[in-house]
Symmetry: D3
Subunit: 128 residues, 6 copies
């Protein structure tokens, strides 16, 4: 394991997904899934999100497109929140998902729009 | 059919993929695939690429990510050229494809990098 | 936007999926997802379902196969209802899903049969 | 192994894909892939294609849609020939592939149209 | 139908997934889905799981990897239980799922780990 | 970057895929794809293949199944060679690919068997 990369990754992961959520995930990890938590933090958040060369908002938009096509609604919801944290606007999210509908097919687009609506409702309720 | 949308789409498609390539595709179309040419030009290029709300360079990067994950190397090659036409740099392409490797898996990343290398060689040869 | 194609699409979409359901979807649409509602109605229902050349029952069966393989249970449920509206019998649905199991793999078939059973139960309850 | 099912399957497989092609595949099979040849002939062609309940032309159209989305061009080419053998017209193939483009995404449609064009050229050359 | 293969398949299916679960599935089957129950038992459990050449624990691990990538959480849960029945340890399951995360992408891995955790909780509760 | 993990990964990668092939890949890497070479070597080969808990032959079999389903023939070919290097027999490879045919669908199985046959021919020719 690479401690520096883990620390960088943890920092970015908290900034994008929210510190509370990330700390809870790590606190809930046990022997079974801790190696996966570490791999994700170090490799996904440290080694790639930690690279220069693309603004975080762009990385977020890429993720929304990829997760919609990969058909992973849990991760999509998390990264919709991350995208808003990274300054992506609702209008930009809409544009990304419409492009998904054309390239990934209408059902991928419909599902992604539904997840986005649910996410916006959750966020509005959380603010109250 | 919507003539305005088709014309808008055709214009954008030529700007992104190159007028010569697009004209050749349309000229080669026959009764069998002309409806597909029209659908693509009108909806994909007119109704989505023609929307405001995202810069073309961002739309190109989204496409590189989606086509890599959808495993469509022919289309990926075409849109790698389109991305360069839209001002995406090689360094940005690299960042997109590394993000693909993380979220879509290492084999998706490896294949996308190979297609990108082939595309860059083709473009270098075409310039000579 | 192409108003004629939208109107054709809206008409077909209502005939296949049920007028009440479609009107509710459109009424619930806001700035965020209205462009997607329009794209789907015009492009999916107008430009493709509106074409001649295949009976609606055949288009429905194609959709059941594609949605099972694309792993989109929400859309599959909707189109199972649409298939019955279009005159596809339960026996034909079974045949389509068994072919899915062979070409898309047993898990795709098992999931599709489960969604079909749930849909039939919902429809039976709605009739009571 | 179920000999009756194998025989039924072999008969149908030859009728759909052509006797010569199927005999060559079986003759070329060795210890390594013979079990796969048997599994395919018995289950895919015997247990599913051998079922009543759907005309062969419909089964062919379902396959074209599924194989396009599954991104399997070799199998798609074989089943395009099979579809023509089963009486599916070129116009119907076009309709199936346009529906693929909507539900599976434009790149799936573009690739399927390209494979179809190549197949038609091959068939025209074989007739000369 | 091949009765011997069905019987072999049924036996193995019960040993791997639990007799009670399998008997319930068969008892609940009706005209609509009985052919799918038979196909699965005969073809999946008889013709493939019934083959020699790989230990059941290895077949289970292959299934965990494939079902994670195919994005089929219902089947994954069932085969996680099957894997434990076949003597695969939790540590080995973890290794399989980490390999999924690298080759199928981080979101496939994250989803698979979540399904595994849910499954372990269900099993612990069932034992109480 | 984590130098230890890279060194471990490089060592394993060479042992599995062949030193000559890996050295050529690294020697051919330029600014564009070197970060991908490093990511793959460090995370895929170091952080996952370098873990204890599964024999290399099992990891190879998992990869054959995953790459067949992910539809990545280039990587599949490389890992077929790797599997043989790791002591997986041809008979075991056949069993893995038959299981792919059931769970991933017949076309995934057919394509994987074809790639395997091509790989065996290449290896036989290379030995001459």
């Amino acid at each position: 394991m690479n401690d520096d990369l883990f620390d960088t990754g943890l920092q970015i992961r908290k900034e994008v997904l929210g510190a509370e959520f990330v700390e809870k995930s790590l606190a809930a990890a046990d022997d079974f899934n801790m190696p996966m938590q570490k791999l994700t933090t170090e490799y996904c958040w440290g080694a790639v999100w930690g690279r220069e060369g693309l603004p975080r908002a762009t990385r977020s938009m890429l993720n929304l497109a990829m997760l919609s096509i990969l058909n992973r609604p849990h991760e999509l919801k998390m990264h919709l929140k991350g995208a808003l944290n990274n300054g992506v606007t609702k209008e930009e999210i809409r544009e990304v998902l419409m492009q998904v509908a054309i390239y990934g097919g209408i059902p991928a687009g419909v599902d992604a729009f539904r997840v986005a609506k649910e996410t916006f409702v959750e966020l509005a309720q959380a603010k109250q």
